[in-house]
Symmetry: C3
Subunit: 355 residues, 3 copies
Amino acid sequence: MKATKTNPGNYFEDFKFGQILKHATPRTVTVGDAAIYMSLYGPRFAVQSSDAFSKEIGYPEAPLDDLLAFHVVFGKTVPDISLNAIANLGYADGRFLVPVYPGDTISTTSEVIGLKENSNGETGTVFVRSTGRNQNGDVVLEYARWVMVRKRDKSSPAPAAVVPDLPDRVPPESLGQAVPQLNVSRYDMDLAGSPFLWGDYAVGEKIDHVDGMSLEEAEHQMATRLYQNTAKVHFNLHTESKGRFGKRIVYGGVVISLARALSFNGLGNAFHVAAINAGRHVAPCFAGDTVYAWSEVLEKAEIPGRTDVGALRTRLVATKNENCAQLPYKTADGKYADSVILDLDLWLILPRAEA
Amino acid sequence: MKATKTNPGNYFEDFKFGQILKHATPRTVTVGDAAIYMSLYGPRFAVQSSDAFSKEIGYPEAPLDDLLAFHVVFGKTVPDISLNAIANLGYADGRFLVPVYPGDTISTTSEVIGLKENSNGETGTVFVRSTGRNQNGDVVLEYARWVMVRKRDKSSPAPAAVVPDLPDRVPPESLGQAVPQLNVSRYDMDLAGSPFLWGDYAVGEKIDHVDGMSLEEAEHQMATRLYQNTAKVHFNLHTESKGRFGKRIVYGGVVISLARALSFNGLGNAFHVAAINAGRHVAPCFAGDTVYAWSEVLEKAEIPGRTDVGALRTRLVATKNENCAQLPYKTADGKYADSVILDLDLWLILPRAEA
Amino acid sequence: MKATKTNPGNYFEDFKFGQILKHATPRTVTVGDAAIYMSLYGPRFAVQSSDAFSKEIGYPEAPLDDLLAFHVVFGKTVPDISLNAIANLGYADGRFLVPVYPGDTISTTSEVIGLKENSNGETGTVFVRSTGRNQNGDVVLEYARWVMVRKRDKSSPAPAAVVPDLPDRVPPESLGQAVPQLNVSRYDMDLAGSPFLWGDYAVGEKIDHVDGMSLEEAEHQMATRLYQNTAKVHFNLHTESKGRFGKRIVYGGVVISLARALSFNGLGNAFHVAAINAGRHVAPCFAGDTVYAWSEVLEKAEIPGRTDVGALRTRLVATKNENCAQLPYKTADGKYADSVILDLDLWLILPRAEA
């Protein structure tokens, strides 16, 4: 019998290059999760909101929000990957490959794709590729993430440094796999809430999503538990009140989902997140903060073989307690503006006008 | 390409008499929504709580709460009707016509049925009739609402004034369409939680619903997002903290649902809201307030052709931070008492004792 | 017609020995309830989280959390049993007999199994056995509870005192009825999140569940309404702010569910609560408190006729605002330590290693 039956989490020296971690807990996602997701963020994309709308254009029913699936996959990795993490450094190469429907069960594995000890000998960066699969074994989504993790023992030898070669962005030719061939003639833009299709957006265009949403402790705790994410800093006022910030920290995924929901106002037909090319939580967010967002179109791409949908690469920036009328991002010295909390590089899928 | 892709909402001069607005976003309502609705308000009417109870008396399964459907329909109108509204002035002629079941998809249209510019030239009243339909095109509910909306430009010419002729109350002969023929002999009053049927109530009877329920920010935000209602005043602490009240305002529909749920204590068999004859949000409500309610029976009506159910017309009054033991309503000068926040005139359906 | 149509609740003299109370409201529990339960407490047991996992080992689908069913049954008893209660004194002989699945409808009855007036003549203890049944009439769970209830009238004569003889613990031979015969070879411990099976635990073993979870007002109100529990002290800030504690009291069941969810960390394969042998809410809990938990293994039992699962009897202790590294329980004088809020004696079911 081991000395303890509780999970201490992994420390930097516990990770081995090439190691596969099979995470607990498989999770059946349902219309219940979809409803809570809606009540927490207020997304309004018609495809995820309506079975009738989805069926009309070619889905068997309304898929779950892409980011709900992402957070569930992410949540499973926390007890094994980031329980002893100091910082969630970044995301790359995130791909949404198969729609997730109510009733699907999602399981997650992670592969250690890089390790690099920091010069202080106290921490190191762990790079993982996490993969979510449904009950049929199909990969529904995968993404690379890197986190800074504490060493258990400073004297442990450093592993051979391996930094994975991650793409700047997911190539357009691999996008849209989670979107069935759409019958665009049945895509009702009045119901969808926006008259702007893929062709209406231009590279360089910037969109202030206008609205702001304030966050409450109960909301982010409910969200984070919904994903079975166990990171202590989100839940424990007793310890966090004595910690670095004096309060609980909002799970960064809550900010991602809020910013995505706000982006409906200006990107109403961008119904699917096809890829997370890169992402960074620039600053922490707390209950009481008001989140705003804006987007810039970075790139437009046709998807080979498809005339129904096209891809927009956008930078989705979220701020707190400052609206985005001035599109806050970086200052002259290249640092993030004070109000910026999230910098996300996405591929979004939109319908194209019929030829 | 337009200058902006975000929705600025309509201003008074954007509305035309007779205009039909087709609102985004169609919304499939599910057992997930039903569960959140229960967790937010705590209704206890057996018909909406139990498939087994509902089937026993003649429903195919438990219908969703009438007011959940109402709020979903209402929520869709906000981006087009009331984004630039100053005040939600009133409701009339609300009819619940077809039950809404889990899995149904609700869409909403509104017709402009009246316009009247105010003498200040800065605002005007817009009257709309909003109609919610299910995926089969059946009208599940409809209601008239009027709101005071800002003009974009004070110099815009005033439209011809049209004030619709709205009924004082929905006529009894049109009530109960959303209730199947009930097998009242199988209606179990112990399970329903009240021994009082339609015949047990008398016109003039007043019922203090006794209990009070306090509201939290997270609760009203979750409720309002669940309905995809985007009115800014409910969500943005950053701007509202500098606004008129210094804080977020609770969506009036939250108060309606709380008062209705509280009314179970005294009206436990009034399982269906058949009509909203009239309604007014008398004063705003904020997180931290405690809501109480009382009812007065205004009228009793048989429904032509039906002996299973009868209709009670009630005034449902909600107060804040004062219990309803003294039945607070209006003062001698005809003004609402300070604690009153909601004045609602409803038709409720109750089973009748068997002959 | 009665003088009032509202429910005043029962007072001590209203209860008769042997009386059966049939409670309102039957409640269909769904995947919506399961999702809210997860968002409120964050349980991670694989059986309740995953249809795929459950099917693999022998369930037809994922059952609902045992304690969700318990709280729904409990909630129904409140308007009839404990609306005028001063204290919820204890639980015993709780048995979980049939799994509850999404779509099941739960109804509750209670039998008065004991009555004992207190010497002050103002209150008395009411002992009830409450029984939850599904739509087929199967008893899904039952438990004894005793509460201190006010007398309406001090001069009412005391009933003959009857104190029921309740077992110290449910006998092992009656455990596990709600668990189908499991195919343990298909029980994946990686997915379940713990390598420790029934055989790995020893009597006397103590487990600090490490994590803490802070409670918000919105969370406990949403939980308590989800169970249609109407006890006023949980919801009414207006009256409670002038009451004994100056604030709303968290429903004790919320603490039970939080402690159970926290216990995953150390008891990850204890997927089923088979019995509540005894239980006591030692001290009240309030919003802002952080709940911790620890367990002690009190007894190990084989279940006659079964080699797939075994039973662990554990004491589950919850504390507030003090972590459980020191396993706080009772002080030298036999009183509970200041931080202890819950003392629960459970039978848990775990898979056994294959022979």
